[in-house]
Structure formats: structure tokens, C-alpha cells
């Protein structure tokens, strides 16, 4: 069993601005741990997490794969979150790198077919239409959860480019809730990105029905 990363360096003050790991984070850790042997067999060298927040997931990935085995790169639109990503890496002896950016802007040109492990725990909570983009512009904690009408406003921006980012053996993990229509996401990803998707873990937590989806190229 791989322990949850040490987050004792993060304070209440940090969590006013940076999303504190919760059930959606933990189901993603569980999914990555369940896939540990598979992930190691891919020999991934470039691991990218979009919206890396506290850095909990990226550090955990480093623990799964080995702290020096890959580049662990996180992006976040919130500068405090990007800083937390780096601090959590240091605390857990994984050298995580972080960028302040929206999704993967600035990386797009250079990571075509290069990303071996892509991870996104998006702002998936259904909100009023327009609330998602306002939350992103605020560059603070609301951007970690506000997801627009069906909770997919931000996720959809990433999904349309995943096929172009993944390396030939690349794999993509996505957190979603039932209202996001996980089966529908898989159908769309098959049609538009040529990626096979499946729900690899699901559980109810509080009022949410959480899913972890995994996508990879067709065999």
C-alpha cells in the first residue's frame, strides 16, 4: 500500500485558496494505486497533471512510479496552487514542477504525442452556466470546483485535445461525477479522439457519485 502524501506543511490559510484533498482526490489516488503495475510497465517519462492544486496526486504518482523516473509536471491557473504543488513535492521527496497557466497553454506546441500519463481532476460540479469561466478568471479556489451547466465546461476544453497530447502508449485519467455522464464522455472520446475509455472505479461519497475514467489508444 502506498501512503497518502504528507500534506502536513499545508495550513488552513493555504486551504482558503487551494482545494484541500477530499473524496474525489482519494478515489483518484486509489485508481492510480490499483493501476500501479500497469503504469510502471509503461515506463512513463512525462507525467502531466492539469489543475494540480495541492500537489497531492502528482506526488502520489511520483511515489507509485519512482521519484526520479519521470518528469512530474503540474499546471494550475491559481498561483498559490502551483506553489503548493511544488511544496508538496519537496515535502514528499518528489521533484514536482509547476506552471501557472490555464489547462496546458504554453505546452501545447511541444507536448504533441509526448504525454505518457495525463491526469485531470477537473472542476466537475454542475453550476450556473457562466459560473465556470468566472471562477477560472478568479484564479482562486472556486476554479477548482465550478464546472458550468453540466459540470463539463472546463473538462470539455481539455477533452478535445487529449488524443493529440498522449504518446502512443499514453494513458489519461479523469475524475467525473454522474451528472457529467461518464458513459457519454467515453462515447465522445471514442468518436472524436480515437481513445477507448472505461470507468475503472466508482463510489458514492457524500452527495456525489464519483467515477474515475481511464482512456488509452485502441489496441
Amino acid at each position: 500500500m502506498i501512503p497518502t502524501p504528507d500534506l502536513s506543511h499545508l495550513t488552513k490559510e493555504d486551504y482558503k485558496h487551494v482545494y484541500e484533498p477530499a473524496e474525489d482526490t482519494f478515489i483518484l489516488l486509489d485508481a492510480l494505486e490499483q493501476d500501479a503495475d500497469y503504469l510502471k510497465s509503461l515506463n512513463p517519462r512525462l507525467c502531466l497533471e492539469i489543475g494540480s492544486g495541492s500537489g497531492c496526486v502528482l506526488s502520489f504518482l511520483g511515489a507509485v512510479l519512482g521519484s526520479t523516473s519521470a518528469l512530474y509536471l503540474g499546471t494550475d491557473i491559481n498561483i498559490r496552487a502551483a506553489q503548493a504543488t511544488v511544496r508538496t513535492g519537496l515535502q514528499n521527496k518528489v521533484s514536482t514542477s509547476a506552471l501557472v497557466t490555464s489547462l496546458y497553454e504554453g505546452l501545447e506546441q511541444r507536448i504533441k504525442h509526448q504525454v505518457d500519463v495525463l491526469v485531470f481532476n477537473p472542476p466537475y460540479v454542475p453550476t450556473l452556466e457562466g459560473e465556470a469561466s468566472v471562477a477560472q478568471d478568479g484564479r482562486d479556489i472556486a476554479g477548482a470546483w465550478a464546472g458550468g451547466t453540466d459540470g463539463m465546461a472546463i473538462t470539455d476544453q481539455l477533452l478535445k485535445n487529449v488524443g493529440g497530447m498522449l504518446s502512443p502508449r499514453g494513458v489519461f485519467y479523469l475524475v467525473a461525477v454522474k451528472q457529467n455522464d461518464p458513459e457519454g464522455i467515453c462515447v465522445r472520446m471514442r468518436r472524436t479522439q480515437g481513445l477507448d475509455g472505461e470507468v475503472i472505479l466508482k463510489r458514492r461519497a457524500g452527495g456525489e457519485f464519483l467515477h474515475v475514467l481511464r482512456f488509452r489508444r485502441s489496441e
Binding site: 515506463n43 519512482g66 526520479t68 511544488v86 521533484s95 514542477s97 506552471l99 497553454e105
Partner: protein, 127 residues
């Protein structure tokens, strides 16, 4: 911790700026060297993802001239080369400074080791 491994993946993304927009040129860079564990398998595996000339030129901007203009044919078994690559990619940290687009001259700031790639609304390319 902007290391050259990350810098090698960054290009200017200002709307309409789509040629000669890589690599970003360092300016006023404050460099720190931090030793880290050597992992030859990682270096060999990451090598094909690198833009070599950009890496060599950027390392030289930061005062490191240890990398050859063209990588050796035996790059994956040449330990002296891999050690130099390890140092350049992973041990040189730019803590403060800027990265400037060679084409449109947009300035991306680096603060506390974290590059800020966000653009103002009018600079963003259509998604």
C-alpha cells in the same frame, strides 16, 4: 523550480504568434544549482522528447556549455554525456527572471521558481 527540462516544453502561445516562438529566451535569470539523484533510464527515456538545439542554446544562455551541438550517436550508453545531460536538465534551477518570446517579445515572468504562462484576455488564441 524552472528547470531546463520544463523550459524545453514551453513555447509562446500569444494569439497569432506561431513561428519562431520557441525556445523562450531567458532574461535576468537568477540561477541556483541543486544536486539531484542521477537516473540514466529516465534520461534515456526522456531524450527523444527533447528539442536538442533549444536545450543547448538555453543552457548556454545560463552559462553552461557542457552539452555538444549534436548529441553523440551512443547517447544512451555514454555515461559522461548522460551525466552532463542530467545536470543541465535537472540541476540548474531558474528561481527568478523572465522568459521572452523570440518572435513577439512577450515576457513570461518566473517568480519563486514558477513560470507564469497566463496571458491577458486579448492575447489569448481562440480555443
Amino acid at each position: 523550480m524552472v528547470r531546463l527540462i520544463t523550459h524545453n516544453l514551453l513555447a509562446c502561445h500569444v494569439k497569432g504568434c506561431d513561428s519562431n516562438n520557441f525556445p523562450l529566451t531567458f532574461s535576468d535569470a537568477e540561477v541556483e544549482i541543486r544536486e539531484t539523484e542521477y537516473n540514466a533510464e529516465f534520461l534515456k527515456g526522456f531524450f527523444p522528447k527533447l528539442e536538442w538545439k533549444a536545450l543547448v542554446d538555453s543552457a548556454r544562455q545560463l552559462g553552461d556549455v557542457s552539452l555538444p551541438e549534436t548529441p553523440p550517436i551512443d547517447y544512451d550508453s555514454n555515461e559522461e554525456f548522460l551525466r552532463a545531460l542530467h545536470h543541465v536538465l535537472l540541476e540548474i534551477h531558474v528561481q527568478e527572471g523572465s522568459m521572452i518570446c523570440p518572435n513577439c517579445k512577450h515576457v513570461y515572468r518566473i517568480q519563486s521558481g514558477i513560470p507564469n504562462m497566463l496571458l491577458a484576455e486579448h492575447e489569448v488564441a481562440g480555443r
